[in-house]
Symmetry: C2
Subunit: 148 residues, 2 copies
């Protein structure tokens, strides 16, 4: 049996990137801002990640995909590291973020309606248009979008 020189779960940064779908540069960035702990290094000073890093980075990736801010993720990670952790706080972060997402959706729907209106004004051919889109943008008074 050959000596186990490289454990299956000890991987360089490129492999970690491939496994988690997070870019190499982004991984180094997460380390820099303290989201991902500093890993061991090879003799030649290259990063070597273990199973714990893979899991932690997967957590971060999933949370980022869901739109959580890095600051929120930092808190969530801290909570998950705490043994008898405060579930309330995690719930609050999650609920707060859900509210933000819903607000953003509402705002975008309002924009969508206004943009659709503007876009159709000009679709009737060159005759009516000199140019209706430009005019719609210039003339706020005629705007049905009142969020602002």
């Amino acid at each position: 049996m050959r000596p186990v020189k490289v454990l299956e779960h000890v991987v360089p940064i490129g492999a970690l990137a491939e496994r988690t779908g997070v870019k190499v540069e982004t991984i180094r960035y997460y380390e820099q801002v303290g989201l991902l702990p500093e890993p061991e290094r090879s003799e030649g000073n290259q990063r070597r990640y273990g199973r714990a890093h893979v899991e932690r980075l997967a957590f971060i990736k999933h949370a980022r995909d869901l739109g959580f801010a890095v600051e929120s993720i930092r808190t969530l990670l801290r909570l998950s590291d705490t043994p008898g952790m405060a579930c309330d706080e995690a719930h609050a972060i999650s609920a707060g973020h859900l509210k933000e997402v819903r607000d953003k959706i509402a705002r975008l729907r309002s924009l969508e309606a206004e943009l659709a209106r503007i876009a159709t004004v000009c679709s009737g051919g060159v005759a009516a248009c000199d140019c209706a889109i430009i005019e719609a943008l210039a003339d706020h008074a005629r705007c049905e979008h009142h969020n602002h």
Copy 2:
């Protein structure tokens, strides 16, 4: 009749900010990046804006509120400055932006569903939760959100 020292439509930057709802710093920024032309200056080197500036800044504000990128606005302004302008191009920019907004809405709705699911897992009391939100984030396999 008193001499018309200050025309009603020649205003300092603060008044322009108030009229358009754009912050003073942002106005200077727009000038810096070439969206808003450099205005006349007072003897003491302070900016003095005329009616044209008010209108142009209102256009920019409206377009930004609608989520157009500064780069798109630059193009739209160029088009609106052209006499026999290319309405097609304005229409394309507008339609492209509408598509972006719709894509963004779709993505956010997917996030919303997943977040709502995660948030409810934990709402049944402390018993079931150690902590379900953290677990949901850690365990991507159980995730119903498949955009990523």
